[in-house]
Symmetry: C2
Subunit: 564 residues, 2 copies
């Protein structure tokens, strides 16, 4: 492709919108175009990179034996009602009515349809196992689309679904998918953490997320500096060292007018937050629950939801709290017996805590679990912090921010049961196949490639992803000899099967051409200039290191073919 | 791929739904799966065929210099309001609201978005011309989805859009696209007629449809048996031979109680329909128009709409007709002067016609244009029939039914004007680029491939489209030698770059294996059986002719590689 023919325009300025490097660079290089909130087009160079990423994914999927299919975007809403996911997805689900007022869903994922299809394929255990995958667009009505291709409302995804007759088979496929995913990230040159993840409401057994570590990410992963333990903060467990050797002091009531938050209590009494007991109220499926935790820690609502086995969990409203006679800002489990109280394991790690007095402007110092108050259940409901130690090895834990770029999931039999997918086992008995699902966002992967492979001059494409293998620059394309020699190299590269982008512009300076080539990030640059030609050489520049060197003109093609 | 691992099931019966061969065969072979009305999934073998068709299309598009991009499915409705197409598409347009109640459109085509994107690319005439294309899903809420992949609500389409600085450039691109389309159909082995088509409301200059001739099609094409003239019946013009040599006889009123239709008039008076004058009323943008035509012909509403320059044209209601004092069943232009009357050119081809008397139960015989009645305009508003002669060469015209499998269109400046896409020409003047659009349905192409390449046993895939190149059958896979020999051929074919589907099933009879191989339609079948092995031969069967022949076992691979 010649730059004079390529439909593109680079930008000098990407505006103030671009929150991340990938967003800014992809816009600046003219690779993507925004049509609406979280709605993008891929222009020619970006699409070539996307297709390379898709090839990497297809190769790894095919290697596992997964079979590619293509399922529809629009789906009858009835199907989603059967699994309850019309409700579960809530506002994230795009829904519409057709001309006959029948409800349709724009699929955010394809478990419902793939399970339905499999009903026409699976009859006996002999038909199992198999894995189907597709590379297909998904739709999610994100509340806050952001960061270019990172969080969008329409995105391309590879989603695979496995069907197994038993746990062993599911485990085997799950493991092969984890390996395939690691290979994909490696080929895309994206560092990745494989983290245990919450398996959500469907109640599958295992789930892992693949997280690309970056400060601009929205996810937090807890990882042990000593062992392999890595988990999403929603799922992570840790050990909080006990410091409860103090003697239990007598409790005392303190007047604390206007003091309601933990921070205010600490300032008022000149104590640390870890010497306080924080109490909060939730509504779990409509029932009020009091939750208490050491004041320096936070409730992990995912864990709490599991402990309560709740479908819907939310912070209780002021009205709901006051209806129970509780006092906002001075709540505690002291003397409370008519409410379900869950205590985090942290409340026993320290003695002599300060808590609310359950009347306005009052706190109580030196309270101790069991001597002064009781809870209905002690459970791990705290968000793990760097204060926690690894549950596996007592090692130091670190919190790392990142972007989720893949998710694998053992679904179990939820969908086969909901949608009536059976098979006859070896004993002639009807069984539900066990399913797994395996997703990787293609557009988000391109963003992660750019996030993890760029410098202040532009993108540095990994060779497996780069839109072209070579960026050929005729420095003075007005010079006939220079243009012709460059064109001969261009033709010869294509003849040798090397894909090449040719900057043949006659109206741009050397500075602009170098700037654009650094922005585009094609790994190998070949520079043809009148001066080089006079010296019978060709200049080669590596985009990654910006290192340049010369090769004899006659050896240029061989050199490039060998170094690719 | 081994059949024992392939996720599929063939059907014995496709149900009564399947209207066309392609629908029945694709269902029966387990290639496609219906999820809802006009909503299908492609299973592994169909997707491979689809990808081959896509490769053919990409090759031909790339050869024209068109550049591949990818635009979004969901688009802000505001954009569609700017071109008036939210209304123009009417009920065919899927629309929805997002969580913030902003209107979105599921794109049925991409002129709006590609024009918007091009605003960021086009500044000067130097940026022109270019053509962008994509292979992307489209959504149309068809009133009557039918015939499997022929008329669906969600379908994959290659759509290309060209941008030119002048007519010559547009003509050149249009011509190159027409050639590309013909090459695509040829490679897919689909016979095709390139027919002039109506250019619709947008008012572009030229438009051509590519029609695959088949009785099950919904389109009608008029084609000359003598010259090249071919046009969609909506657009076709023809010459109706004049038979007006009779002497004008005196007109007379006849009582025709209960006689209202042309058929009843003919029966009552024992005359032919071509001796009658048919009058109809339309509402054109709210104005009543009377239209008259020879009774054996039909009004072409597309032509009428153009003549009237109307945005909305529909049959007038009984109330609207009676409000003008007209009598349904006895209408004619006789004595009418307060209504706009359009006469088809056919009304002067015969003398002494019979028409309504404009009072109940009355007709008038021997009426003649000009002597007895006048119209405001004589124009060609009839649907061409096989009675018409070719307008180019007076040759005999034929009407052929078929399926539209491609459409190219000179859009002119409608979209660039509506959406404010400009460029600065060589004189520094602001101009609107001229656009063209070029569409080809990918799924429909697969259906057309099957329609035009099958027999009563199943599909006969063209080699460029076939999911695999070879269908290898181990006739008795339980026989260890037979299975191993077949497996060795399978491995060797893949090593030689030949894609192969291997029927390795041990629980199916030779009959089932042959039946499935004929149904799947892979062009070359290779049969390994114990008997053949004893004779040191391998059997080759050509799917198209069902011809079989033997090759020495040792030469099998070479023979296959050479014959592919």
């Amino acid at each position: 492709m010649k730059l004079t023919q390529l439909a593109y325009k680079t930008l000098r300025d990407t505006g103030s919108d671009a929150e991340t490097s990938s967003h800014a660079l992809l816009l600046q290089a003219g690779f993507i175009h925004q049509l609406g909130a979280g709605i993008y087009s891929y222009l020619p160079l970006a699409l070539k990179a996307i297709k390379n990423i898709e090839s990497i994914i297809r190769y790894e999927m095919d290697k596992t034996g997964a079979q590619e299919i293509l399922m529809p975007h629009i789906q009858p809403q009835e199907l989603w009602d059967l699994t309850g996911r019309t409700t579960a997805f809530g506002d994230n689900l795009f829904t519409l009515k057709d001309r006959r007022q029948r409800g349709l869903v724009l699929a955010p994922t394809h478990e419902e349809s793939v399970t339905t299809i499999s009903k026409s394929i699976i009859q006996s255990y002999k038909d199992l196992p198999f894995t189907l995958y597709q590379i297909q667009t998904k739709f999610r009505d994100e509340a806050r689309p952001r960061a270019g291709l990172i969080r969008v409302r329409e995105f391309s995804m590879k989603d695979a679904y496995s069907f197994s007759a038993n746990e062993d088979s599911l485990d085997e496929i799950y493991e092969s998918m984890a390996i395939a995913y690691k290979n994909i990230y490696q080929k895309c040159e994206i560092p990745v953490l494989m983290a245990e993840a919450d398996s959500g409401a469907i109640g599958g057994k295992d789930s892992h997320e693949f997280i690309y570590p970056t400060e601009s990410g929205e996810d937090t992963v807890i990882t042990c500096s000593n062992c392999q333990y890595t988990a999403n903060v929603e799922k992570a467990i840790g050990i909080l060292p006990a410091e409860n050797h103090d003697t239990e002091a007598p409790q005392a009531e303190i007047s604390t007018p206007g003091v309601t938050t933990i921070e205010e209590v600490c300032n008022f009494l000149n104590i640390n937050a870890n010497q306080t007991l924080k109490s909060l109220c939730y509504s779990a499926d409509g029932q009020l629950v009091m939750v208490c935790i050491r004041g320096d820690l936070n409730i992990n609502e995912v864990k709490l939801k599991h402990i309560l086995n709740a479908t819907e969990l939310r912070a209780a409203s002021t009205a709901e709290i006051e209806q129970e006679g509780l006092v906002l800002g001075s709540m505690s489990p002291l003397g409370i017996s008519n409410i379900n109280i869950i205590g985090d394991t942290s409340i026993v790690t320290k003695k002599n805590l300060t808590a609310g007095g359950n009347k306005p402007g009052t706190h109580i110092v030196n309270i101790n679990y069991q001597r002064d108050f009781h809870v209905n259940q002690i459970a791990d409901i705290s968000t793990v912090t760097e204060m926690h130690l690894c549950n596996e090895c007592n090692g130091k834990l670190e919190a790392v921010r990142g972007i989720e770029i893949g998710h694998i999931f053992k679904l179990g039999s939820f969908f086969s049961e909901s949608l009536g997918l059976h098979f006859t086992d070896q004993d002639g008995k009807q069984q539900f196949p066990l399913m797994g699902c395996y997703g990787i966002g293609v557009g988000r992967l391109l963003a992660a490639v750019v996030e993890s492979n760029h410098d202040d001059k532009g993108i540095i494409f990994p060779k497996n992803v780069s839109p072209y293998q070579v960026h050929l620059i005729a420095l003075n394309a007005n010079d006939e000899t220079c243009y012709e020699k460059a064109h001969a190299i261009y033709d010869s590269l294509w003849d040798h099967g090397v894909t090449c982008l040719f900057d043949d512009r006659t109206d741009q300076s050397a500075g602009v051409k170098f700037r654009d080539s650094e922005l585009f990030g094609i790994p190998l640059q070949v520079i043809v200039s009148p001066r080089n030609l006079n010296n019978d050489i060709c200049e080669i520049k590596l985009r990654k290191t910006l290192e340049t060197y010369s090769v004899p003109l006659g050896e240029t093609i061989d050199h490039i073919v060998n170094s690719i």
